[in-house]
């Protein structure tokens, strides 16, 4: 039980690094035939290759790579939708201005945290192993990440939750070893708001300060 918790912690610090981690794999090790007909798994498979190209492009400076990766990440995910989800019940009482400001702060926070970790995952490979449609247009794409430094030989399960009911597929959540990023963030944010009379402006300030620490 305790080891499960600590393993959870191990894998989750890097909540923010999931997309980056996946994209850092040096060789395209995705299973080409895994759920090829499924639009969500094809979306995950294709975009991991694009992320790879950015992160393994030695001709880019560190700053250029950072900017390109940020653009890649924002194009892959629906940050507004994720931000709204993480507010939980506090979204209902929030003004549109507060929601918009929170969306911006959340995006800066998420991108900063993601980028601070992705270097740890250099050399890992990822392959799509399964995909399930939990509801119409709502897919969970299961992948396996293999690390050359992992002595256990056990691949790490990384799941992507993909919505395909919009103009284009988007990632709305990611999970490492069963821990979902957006759910964990929602739990944190609603706890923070519960202790601060639902003051979203305070949360926005807190997220902005955290984002600065990571830059």
């Amino acid at each position: 039980m305790r080891s499960a918790l600590f393993r959870a912690a191990t894998f989750t610090v890097a909540f923010g690094s999931l997309a980056a981690a996946a994209a850092l794999a040096p060789t395209p090790a995705f299973a080409q035939n895994a759920q090829a007909a499924n639009p969500a798994s094809a979306f995950v498979n294709d975009n991991m290759h694009k992320g790879l190209e950015i992160l393994n492009n030695k001709s880019l400076s560190v700053e250029q790579r950072r900017v390109q990766f940020e653009g890649f990440l924002l194009g892959l995910t629906d940050m507004k939708r994720i931000a709204a989800f993480t507010l939980g019940q506090y979204r209902r009482g929030a003004s549109q201005a507060d929601q918009d400001a929170f969306g911006n702060a959340f995006q800066n926070y998420a991108v900063a945290v993601y980028q601070s970790y992705f270097a740890k995952y250099a050399g890992q490979t990822l392959r799509v192993v399964n995909s399930q449609e939990r509801a119409p247009g709502d897919f969970i794409v299961t992948t396996e990440m293999n690390s050359p430094n992992d002595r256990t030989g056990q691949p790490l399960e990384v799941d992507f939750r993909v919505r395909t009911d919009g103009p284009k597929p988007v990632v709305v959540d990611m999970s490492v070893a069963g821990i979902w990023l957006a759910i964990e963030e929602r739990d944190q944010f609603t706890s923070f708001l519960g202790q601060n009379n639902g003051d979203i402006k305070l949360l926005i300030q807190y997220l902005s300060d955290l984002a600065k620490q990571f830059k």
Partner: protein, 244 residues
């Protein structure tokens, strides 16, 4: 070892009863965490124990034991848990997972030199997993987790998992091997387990603390999610996820 853990659980339960008079707020109830105030106090206490007693020795452990040695210690300690995992596999009716556990234990205890090496995984590709009685209570008996708790010294839990921990300790076969100085074996194993876990997660825990808006809530969420994942025994979690 059983005595020590039993004492910890007993002290905790007594403390919980004493502290339970503080009325929970609606937010605490919504988070299924009516003892949040006491839990936060306990997290601070555990943090001090970690800072003053565990973390310093983790540094020494890093200096004295090289990377490969620490990995071998981790494998050895993990191998000791397999009999308990096997019992829980059986109780959950997981025949194939039980077979894997038994095979891993036999192979790693012999060819793997008491578990310091992992030929079951590296040579025979037998997958590893862990199982405990808290998960058995959930899968076999349908027990709900109950309110979130932070146990002294042991960290995040809940009534179901705390009960499961007590049962796991009670059925651990190493407790039934009679030999002199058993207490030193028990204490040494427990401390090594703590040291191993902290050594593996030292920088990671720092990272969570650094990036968290609310570290307490982050740990609570991590604990619940990883437990829910463990209870599924590899089955997909799609139906349990919230809608976006």
């Amino acid at each position: 070892m059983r005595g020590v853990k039993g004492l910890i659980l007993g002290v905790f339960c007594a403390g919980l009863t004493a502290c339970a008079s503080a009325p929970p707020t609606p937010a605490m109830l919504a988070a299924n965490d009516p003892y949040e105030a006491d839990n936060r106090d306990m997290m601070v206490f555990n943090g001090k124990v970690d800072r003053y007693f565990v973390a310093p020795t983790v540094g020494i452990y890093f200096v004295l034991v090289p990377d490969g040695g620490r990995a071998a210690v981790h494998r050895f300690l993990n191998n000791l848990t397999l009999p308990t995992t096997f019992v829980n596999d059986v109780l959950q009716g997981e025949a194939q997972r039980g077979r894997y556990t038994l095979e891993r234990f036999v192979i790693n205890s012999t060819l793997g030199l008491a578990g310091f090496f992992d030929p079951a995984g590296s040579r025979f590709s037998i997958p590893a997993h862990s199982e405990d009685f808290g998960q058995t209570l959930a899968t076999t008996f349908g027990a709900k987790e109950g309110p979130y708790l932070i146990l002294p010294f042991l960290g995040p839990s809940n009534p179901r998992d705390a009960t499961g921990l007590a049962v796991d300790v009670a059925i651990d076969p190493t407790n039934f091997i009679p030999f002199k100085q058993h207490i030193w074996w028990a204490v040494g194993r427990e401390y090594s387990t703590v040291l191993d876990l902290r050594a593996q997660t030292f920088s990671t825990v720092q990272g969570i603390q650094r990036s968290s808006v609310d570290y307490y809530a982050a740990l609570r969420s991590l604990y619940r999610q990883i437990r829910a994942k463990g209870i599924l025994n590899g089955r997909p979690a799609g139906a349990d996820l919230p809608d976006f």
